[in-house]
């Protein structure tokens, strides 16, 4: 791109940024103070942390659809992945990484459990716990201890869909009683913990799957790794 055109683009971007900043500063204050509304209803939500209360109680159907979107994304990847590319044998990892993974992965699983439990009363919750689980799976794969997924087995498929199915069945049962995802206040805490536990496992598997399905590739020719080992 030549200089005048580049200057024009930069100038346009700066002008756009200025207009956007002016528009944001010009916005009127929100008509409804949602923080006060959430704080007022927090005692009936079954959890003590406002973010979890919003995610899984007040706006539970948003979270339900979010999980469905993630599941669909993974299904799409599985659908386009070539079935004939069998899972290659995990590459020989260096011993440092193997040692690190055997120390770190149990701690990561513990941290995921803590995040899941902590979600009820402080920052944490199913998404963060699932991400930590997925990171543990990625670490295991990089250390050569977990093969990439060729084609998910029946158990794995159940695990992938399980969190969404738990969430959906709770929603369906509650729908039969009147409204979608309106928990009875006395059981709200238990139901939210049940849903979050299912979601943690499934989100961990789904996020790990986004990595482990992509990680499948034809076995690389022994080019880089072998030479490093010799020298």
């Amino acid at each position: 791109m030549n200089a005048p055109a580049r200057l024009a683009v930069v100038g346009f971007a700066l002008a756009l940024a200025g207009v956007l900043a002016a528009a944001v500063l010009d916005l009127p204050a929100a008509a409804v103070d949602l923080r006060a509304a959430v704080a007022k209803k927090l005692s009936a939500s079954g959890v003590e942390h406002p973010v979890t209360a919003v995610l899984l109680n007040f706006r539970g159907y948003d979270t339900l659809l979010e999980v469905a979107v993630l599941l669909l994304a993974l299904l799409g990847m599985l659908a386009v992945a070539k079935p004939e590319a069998a899972a290659p044998a995990p590459p020989a990892a260096d011993p440092m990484l193997r040692t690190l993974s055997s120390v770190a992965v149990p701690l990561m699983i513990l941290a995921a459990g803590y995040l899941l439990w902590a979600g009820a009363h402080r920052p944490g919750g199913a998404f963060q716990a699932g991400a930590v689980l997925a990171a543990a799976a990625v670490l295991l794969h990089l250390a050569g201890r977990l093969p990439a997924w060729a084609s998910p087995s029946r158990v794995l498929r159940l695990g992938l869909a399980g969190g969404f199915l738990v969430f959906l069945s709770v929603a369906a049962i509650l729908l039969a009683q009147g409204a979608l995802l309106r928990y009875p206040p006395e059981h709200a805490g238990t139901l939210i913990l049940l849903i979050e536990a299912g979601l943690t496992l499934s989100l961990g598997l789904i996020l790990a799957g986004l990595f482990l399905v992509l990680a499948r590739r034809p076995a690389p020719p022994r080019a880089g790794g072998g030479e490093e080992g010799k020298s």
Partner: protein
């Protein structure tokens, strides 16, 4: 003190975002993207949004960074196999 930290954080965010977009070396771009994600998590923590900070650090910096590095590795491998 905290104002100085915030200004430094904002500058570092802009710098890492610019570096990750502008650098011609893809590996460096991915590393700068991970740095940007970690700084962004700090920024969310400074904005009193620890939930988003956790999610950003785990998903934005960690998993996305790992995916990008893996994609980079796959491309490099293919390029190395097909041609010089």
């Amino acid at each position: 003190m905290s104002l100085a930290f915030d200004v430094l954080l904002a500058l570092a965010l802009l710098w890492s975002a610019w570096r990750s977009l502008a650098t011609p070396d893809l590996t460096r771009a991915v590393v700068m993207f991970i740095v940007f994600g970690l700084l962004m998590a700090l920024a969310w923590a400074r904005l009193d949004a620890p939930d988003i900070a956790l999610a950003e650090a785990a998903i934005g910096a960690g998993l996305t960074g790992a995916l990008l590095l893996d994609a980079l590795g796959a491309f490099g491998e293919r390029r190395g196999r097909d041609g010089p």
